[in-house]
């Protein structure tokens, strides 16, 4: 037990995401701060925003965001300021600039392609002549029936 207490005192207690002392007095400004920090990545964490993170660096960044907001920056200006300082790695929502158009365009482009193929395929099916009756051939129909009977 003594050893445990010793270890306990040695263990660094985790710093908590958004501490009460960080919260700004102006609720509107605070809400904007939360919004901005939810989109900024904690640099030393794995896939966490600074709003969620317990790391010390995240706290520093949260305070920085609030400082800029209090100084009168718009949300975009705060984000630009942080990006300039830490690189675009901090952005959880990647920009649309440069090669990132591939990322943003991939989904819609794929939807168009897949939709086109889907429509073409369906058209083709609509025009096709029923091959050997509707769907199954007589032999296959019999076989399927046999299988169904077997399983029932």
């Amino acid at each position: 037990m003594k050893r445990l207490i010793l270890i306990l005192t040695l263990l660094a207690s985790p710093v908590w995401a958004v501490q009460p002392d960080e919260v700004l007095d102006d609720p509107i400004l605070e809400e904007r701060a939360r919004e901005v920090s939810a989109g900024l990545r904690c640099l030393v964490c794995r896939n966490e925003s600074i709003d969620e993170s317990n790391a010390g660096l995240a706290r520093d960044m949260r305070l920085l965001v609030r400082e800029r907001l209090v100084a009168g920056d718009t949300n975009e200006e705060v984000v630009d300021f942080v990006v300039e300082r830490y690189g675009e790695y901090v952005l959880l929502k990647p920009t649309t600039g440069g090669s990132n158009w591939l990322l943003w365009g991939a989904g819609p482009a794929m939807l168009l392609i897949a939709g086109g193929i889907g429509v073409a395929y369906t058209r083709n099916r609509a025009k096709a002549q029923p091959a050997g009756g509707e769907g199954l051939s007589a032999a296959e129909e019999a076989r399927l029936k046999e299988l169904m009977k077997d399983q029932g």
Binding site: R3, L4, I7, L8, L11, S13, P14, V15, W16, A17, V18, Q19, P20, V23, G39, R41, R46, N47, S49, E52, G87, E88, Y89, L91, L92, K93, P94, G98, S99, N100, L103, W104, A106, G107, M110, L111, A114, G115, G118, Y121, T122, R123, R125, A126, A128, P130, A131, E134, G135, L136, A139, A142, R143, L144, E146, L147, M148, D150, Q151, G152
Partner: protein, 662 residues
């Protein structure tokens, strides 16, 4: 007797694994040759080999479990991941709470599915059966080699320490104890669909019967994936301390992509079975769905994409899995390219029909999976090809992925009620008008009640109601509108479909509600102080240090009251696991139908008060209730006598008539 058998068991476990590896090689080669040459004796090897392989791996797994249960600290793995003071359930879950053990669980499930295919595959044509079992065994061979050469769980230590280093405390949790087994049942279950697809490509034949055989396996895999993902998400909700339920983390995406493709595969296999169309697409989906399972394994095991969950990662192992992935995907896709042409569609259908609705379903699911994939690997691609270090986080996925789910929800009730071959939208929509009107009215009501907030909540409510009432309408229509007594006599598959689709609606509503209407409060509270959050009165009665079995806890005693009457006593905890040197938070949650109150205790402040974070989480339970409904729907369908996997086994003796010997 404790002294001699213990080491023996470990060595025997290792030996059984080596034997299983050899059996799997035989099971790959002999039946494939046999099926090609039409030698019945060679084909017949597959079945006993599948059984032997399963028994050997099961023994090996049991041996490792035994080492964990008895805290055999001469095993390196046990030392690294266990501790004698750990509760029994976590000693057992510790077996798969690490890289080596989880891979052993992986091959155990792989061999289990192979053995099940042997047990229940009595009605398959002999050549197809031999080939399916052989392909399944070839996957085993790859993973046995992976374990034996890079991740041997049975390594000994020359000097065993007194006690172990404990399992990562975050993993010492009931939700997470069973999250990996379910997830693996899902991942690995998709290997069956893959084996069936490759075997069919070798046979050069895909027909209605093939669609029928492959569907229960896919459905089972999908159900297990659903449960596994839901457990993981629920765990994240109550364990990580701020009530997030989905983070678009690479590892989560790794499990979500196969889920999306398995859902697509389930639906396209229906078209193959009922209408003999979409054959080559279904084969491709089956290959890709398992491919994404392998990609998921690669992502988790290699640590290429760093994430919260990845334990043990190692470049050598990553390369090995990449080789496995390359071999199976490359081989299967080449076979596909060579053979897909022979599978021509037979069913004819018009632009508006059940078939075309299912094509739309497949497009939405597959493209949404593609979006998740691109988002997941983009940081890697950007760094490698464009020299940019960037992140792709939740804001991207929420924006790029959600529209697909909204579209899916919109068309689902219509599509699921369309007749095969030819349909008229007006006619299908008419019975759905009440459901639609109610859904719109609910959405509009909520829209009017909340001012100045996001549209997410109302849209989610509309979609949820539309899906649930749509599914009910569908069920009612199936009775021919002739009274409720016939409802109970509907086939279970009809019920399964309605329940699963309603589940999707419930989950969508829960996700939207939670994201739109969550409230949060952070403050420093003195002991004895009462404060108000979102209409609740909370009192911090006391904070105590409590000693757990292998942790020390700082426990808050919080009384939750509303309108002066007490609702619940909440015990948020902050734990420290001294052995693993890790703190965890245990949120205290008052679960209710319409909302959770979620309380987290933080640090003591200089003025003696404690940081208390309180969240009001509306509809949180609906997310997992919906997932449970989806899984239940899957089980209902599986238990339908027409699809029962076991059905063939009883009739094994009776030879199937009319199967061409080819």
């Amino acid at each position: 007797m404790g002294f001699i058998p213990k080491p023996m068991i470990t060595e025997l476990g290792h030996f059984a694994l080596v034997l299983a590896f050899l059996v799997a090689i035989v099971q790959t080669v002999v039946p494939l040759v046999g099926a090609h040459k039409r030698w019945p004796g060679w084909m017949a090897v597959a079945e006993p080999a599948a059984n032997a392989q399963f028994l050997l791996v099961a023994f090996s797994f049991a041996a490792l479990t035994w080492a964990f249960v008895t805290s055999d600290f001469s095993l390196r793995l046990v030392v690294l991941n266990s501790h004698s003071a750990k509760p029994m359930i976590y000693k057992i879950s510790g077996v798969w709470g690490n890289h080596e053990g989880s891979m052993l669980l992986w091959v155990l499930i792989l061999a289990l599915f192979g053995a099940m295919a042997a047990w229940f595959g009595g009605n398959l044509p002999p050549t197809l059966r031999a080939r399916v079992l052989a392909i399944q065994a070839s996957i085993s061979v790859a993973f046995f080699a992976f374990i034996l050469f890079t991740s041997n769980p049975f390594l000994r230590l020359a000097v065993p320490p007194f006690d172990g280093q404990d399992l990562n405390p975050l993993l010492q949790d009931p939700g997470l104890a069973f999250h990996p087994p379910f997830l693996y049942l899902g991942y690995v279950g998709l290997s069956m669909a893959f084996s069936f697809a490759v075997a069919a490509l070798i046979e050069g034949r895909v027909d209605a019967a093939w669609g029928r055989w492959v569907r229960p396996w896919t459905l089972a895999a999908w159900v297990f994936l659903t449960i596994g993902i839901a457990l993981g998400s629920w765990w994240a909700y109550y364990e990580l301390g701020w009530g997030g339920f989905w983070f678009w983390d690479p590892v989560e995406n790794a499990s979500f992509m196969p889920w999306l493709l398995a859902a697509a595969l389930l639906h396209s296999a229906i078209v193959v079975e009922k209408r003999e169309a979409l054959k080559s697409w279904t084969i491709l989906l089956a290959i890709l769905a398992f491919g994404f399972s392998l990609i998921g394994t690669f992502i988790v095991r290699s640590g290429v994409l760093t994430s919260v969950h990845a334990f043990a990662n190692d470049p050598e192992r990553g390369v090995f899995i990449l080789m496995i992935l390359g071999f199976f995907m490359g081989g299967a896709l080449m076979l596909y390219a060579a053979r897909a042409g022979v599978m021509e569609a037979k069913g004819v259908f018009s632009m508006v029909s059940r078939e075309s609705a299912l094509v739309a379903n497949n497009i939405l699911l597959a493209v949404s999976c593609f979006v998740v994939f691109i988002g997941t690997i983009w940081p890697l691609v950007a760094e490698m090809f464009f020299d940019r270090k960037l992140s792709v986080g939740p804001p991207f996925f929420n924006l790029a992925f959600t529209p697909f789910m909204v579209a899916l929800g919109l068309i689902l009730p219509l599509g699921s009620m369309m007749p095969w071959k030819r349909a008229r939208v007006g006619r299908v929509f008419r019975p759905l008008i009440p459901a639609f009107v109610v859904a719109v009215a609910l959405g509009a009501l909520v829209w009017a009640m909340q001012t100045g907030r996001s549209a997410l909540g109302p849209v989610g409510l509309f979609l949820g109601a539309w899906l649930v009432f749509g599914a009910m309408t569908d069920l009612y229509k199936r009775t021919g509108g002739s009274g409720l007594s016939r409802l109970w006599r509907l086939p279970r598959a009809d019920w399964g479909k309605a329940v699963a689709h309603s589940g999707l609606g419930v989950t969508m509503f829960g996700v939207a509600g939670l994201m739109a209407w969550q409230q949060e409060d952070i403050r420093v509270v003195q002991i004895g102080e009462t404060f108000e959050v979102a209409g609740f009165e909370m009192t911090l009665d006391d904070v105590q240090r409590v000693q757990g079995p292998n942790y020390i806890s700082t426990m808050g005693f919080v009384t939750l009251a509303q309108d002066g009457s007490e609702i619940a006593q909440l015990r948020p905890e902050k734990r420290v696991y001294p052995v693993a040197q890790m703190p965890t938070t245990e949120a205290a949650i008052d679960y209710r139908l319409l909302r959770d109150v979620y309380v987290v205790i933080g640090d003591q402040q200089e003025n003696g008060g404690w940081t208390i974070r309180t969240f009001l989480k509306p509809l949180a339970n609906w997310i997992w209730a919906g997932s449970a409904l989806m899984a239940l729907g899957g089980f209902l369908s599986l238990s339908d006598r027409r699809y029962r996997v076991a059905a063939g086994a009883r009739k094994q003796a009776a030879p199937v008539q009319g199967v061409p010997a080819e």
